[in-house]
């Protein structure tokens, strides 16, 4: 009898943990590096929400497309975008995922099915309908996942897209990463309907709400909605109730949060800790194996930062290239 009570093999459990740990360390490190002033522009960190990206993306392959958000680093990492290229992009270097032309908010890798982080809230929803439409025409079994937050859930694009996906029965999943805050504004204030499942129901879509800090809850629910979409069962909505450890963007003093909220969340609702405790206490994975992943990820992030800092800047001629395929 195996020691593993989970629906994932030991290797898969470790892969899930590695994904979440990589996202966490990537973001924690950006938090530090940003404060030093080395990173241009602004960054929106995903720390706290790792179980959502990891739990969903484990069901996808490169033929499946995702449309991400301004808070996209976690989605990129979980979808397989190279961490070195991501870090270099955030530093605006020519070795970046977008050769320094996109930055934190526009990291994309279409070969991995990552259709881009997006600086426009709610813009990914129509795009992913197109991805779903393309998959449907090709008959390749691909699915599209669009992520948006409780804030962008109020964009007309998201609502229009739910309707379009429903009438065309597209293989598309609408994932609400509900971290409770639209920038600084609470979901209770800004969203008239009180449950995203109700909102999905308004478009005839089945909706599910899961605890977004529980990797296994996200993984299982995502598995069902994705399988269903892949088999032609149509679109669905998945709400992950989650938390963000940092502010809307780096530099946000977060005075809109309750006193002690971040500390409480880090102590009690840290999806990485919850995951590690569960798999180690069940004996499916040893603490030594978890620590090894921690060390390897720490080394990866160190190397990524170091190589990004040392990477060449884009040459001036890059200003004028890549506007058109041909002009």
């Amino acid at each position: 009898m195996t020691n593993n009570p989970f629906p994932l093999s030991k290797d898969e459990l470790l892969a899930a943990y590695r994904t979440m740990r990589t996202i966490r360390d990537f973001e924690e490190r950006l938090h530090v590096e940003f404060a030093k002033g080395d990173i241009p522009g602004f960054v929106h960190l995903y720390a706290g929400e790792e179980a959502c990206a990891a739990g969903i993306m484990m069901h996808l392959t490169d033929i499946d497309r995702i449309a991400s958000t301004h808070r996209g680093h976690g989605h990129c990492i979980a979808k397989g975008v190279d961490v070195h290229e991501m870090m270099a992009e955030i530093y605006g270097k020519s070795t970046g995922a977008c050769r320094g032309k996109g930055g934190s908010m526009h990291i994309a890798d279409l070969s991995k099915g990552m259709m881009g982080a997006n600086g426009i809230l709610g813009a990914g929803a129509p795009l992913i309908c197109g991805a779903g439409l393309a998959a449907k025409f090709r008959g390749d079994g691909g699915v599209g996942i669009t992520f948006f937050g409780d804030g962008a859930s109020n964009q007309g694009t998201v609502l229009e897209s739910m309707n379009l996906a429903a009438i065309w029965n597209l293989p598309v999943i609408f994932v609400v990463e509900n971290n409770g805050y639209a920038e600084s504004t609470s979901v209770e204030y800004a969203t008239a309907v009180d449950s995203y499942v109700d909102r999905a129901a308004g478009f005839g879509l089945p909706g599910v709400t899961v605890d977004g800090t529980d990797f296994f809850a996200v993984h299982e629910a995502a598995g069902e909605v994705i399988r269903r979409a892949r088999e032609g069962g149509g679109p669905a909505l998945l709400e992950c109730k989650t938390i963000r450890f940092f502010g809307h963007f780096e530099g946000d003093a977060q005075t809109y949060k309750a006193k002690g909220e971040n500390d409480y969340n880090r102590e009690n609702r840290d999806c990485l800790r919850i995951f590690a405790n569960r798999v180690t206490s069940a004996g499916a994975v040893s603490e030594a194996e978890i620590s090894l992943v921690d060390r390897e990820v720490a080394a990866l992030i160190d190397a990524a930062v170091e190589s990004a800092k040392g990477a060449p800047l884009p040459s001036p001629r890059e200003l004028l290239t890549d506007v058109y395929v041909a002009y």
């Binding site: 977008c98 309908c129 197109g130 991805a131």
Partner: protein, 339 residues
């Protein structure tokens, strides 16, 4: 074999030929089949003015009626293009860009650059432009300058049936996002159009009338007004050269500059409003690059800085007329005569 067909038929034919050639071409838009889910006939409309009529019978579900939900379906067309399809989305009236511009401005136009060259977005957005249909302020605008302003977009506006077919075929084959502007007042205009498939390259203006005294640059419906003006001017001994830009982005600066270097005079005719218009753009470019050749100040003939009015008497005043163009030409030649 060429035969006379209308601008509208030429567009239909281009779509048909490209859909036959390339299975990744799909066509979607409001009422482009018409009657989807309704109790009556399918293909009831074939587009609000019948441009896509009959295509559904040939290509089935590769033509899709959409809900009245421009952000969603224009965005879906863009997303599908980024995933390997070649969608042709009909926006019906270009004025409706107001409800889906983000997907065009911030998504389609930016993907290639923003993603470091790794994306291509071969989407065509077809839409009706222009006044003359008594369709008032929200269904009549010539918004070409807004799109031409945006790096990453290509903007096409054919003036005749032959160009409409060749330019639409090129638009569909092109790997960049193309805004294909169809002047609704030209739908019925006929020209000799070959039956076979052909593509007209972008960025090649068409000299539709040769002349040595003045260069008149235009595109779309007002090319015909410019030709009317040239005809009148010929009777007064002024030989006007008329250039149809055909595509506004990219634009064929060489042909314009070469012509102005020969004639020394420039009149730009644009159905758009005057500020930051195609007319202003062409005049500025010529002033900057061919100042020495100019014998007179360039003239712009445009719509006034107003919305498009409804009442026919006002709308007729709105669109640049052959008389106004001729008058502008006379301004450029008057100084030369006096000199």
């Amino acid at each position: 074999m060429a035969r006379k067909i209308s601008y509208k038929q030429a567009i239909n034919e281009a779509l048909d030929l490209e859909m036959r050639r390339d299975p990744t071409v799909i066509v979607l838009g409001e009422d482009i089949v018409g009657g989807a889910g309704a109790p009556g006939e399918l293909d009831a409309w074939g587009g609000v003015l019948g441009v896509t009529k009959g295509l559904h019978a040939k290509h089935g579900n590769r033509l899709m009626d959409t809900p009245l939900s421009e952000s969603a379906y224009i965005g879906a067309a863009i997303g599908a293009a980024a995933c390997g399809m070649r969608p042709v989305a009909e926006l019906m009236f270009l004025d409706f860009m107001g409800v889906c511009f983000d997907q065009i401005l911030n998504q389609a136009a930016k993907f290639k650059y923003m993603f470091g060259g790794k994306a291509k977005t071969p989407v065509v957005i077809r839409a009706m432009v222009g006044a003359g249909f008594r369709a008032a302020a929200q269904h009549s605008q010539m918004l070409t300058p807004l799109f031409t302003h945006v790096p990453g977009l290509k903007v096409v506006c054919p003036s005749n049936a032959y160009d409409a077919k060749g330019l639409l075929i090129q638009s569909i084959r092109d790997d960049d996002p193309v805004i294909f502007c169809e002047h609704k007042a030209l739908y019925g205009s006929e020209a000799d159009v070959p039956e076979e498939s052909y593509a007209i390259p972008f960025g090649e203006a068409n000299i539709v009338r040769e002349g040595k005294d003045v260069t008149i640059v235009s595109y779309g419906l007002t090319v015909h007004r410019a030709l009317d003006a040239a005809e009148k001017l010929a009777k007064t001994g002024v030989q006007a050269e008329v250039i149809d830009l055909r595509t506004l982005s990219p634009i064929d600066w060489d042909t314009v500059i070469e012509s102005v270097e020969n004639t020394g005079r420039l009149v730009v005719v644009d159905e758009a409003n005057p500020r930051c218009s195609i007319a202003g753009d062409v005049a500025a470019h010529v002033a900057q690059n061919a100042f020495g050749a100019l014998k007179a100040a360039p003239q712009m003939v445009t719509a006034p800085h107003t919305p498009v009015p409804f009442s026919p008497v006002l709308e007729d005043l709105y669109i640049p007329s052959a008389d106004a163009i001729a008058a502008a030409v006379t301004k450029t030649t008057a100084r030369a005569l006096a000199a």
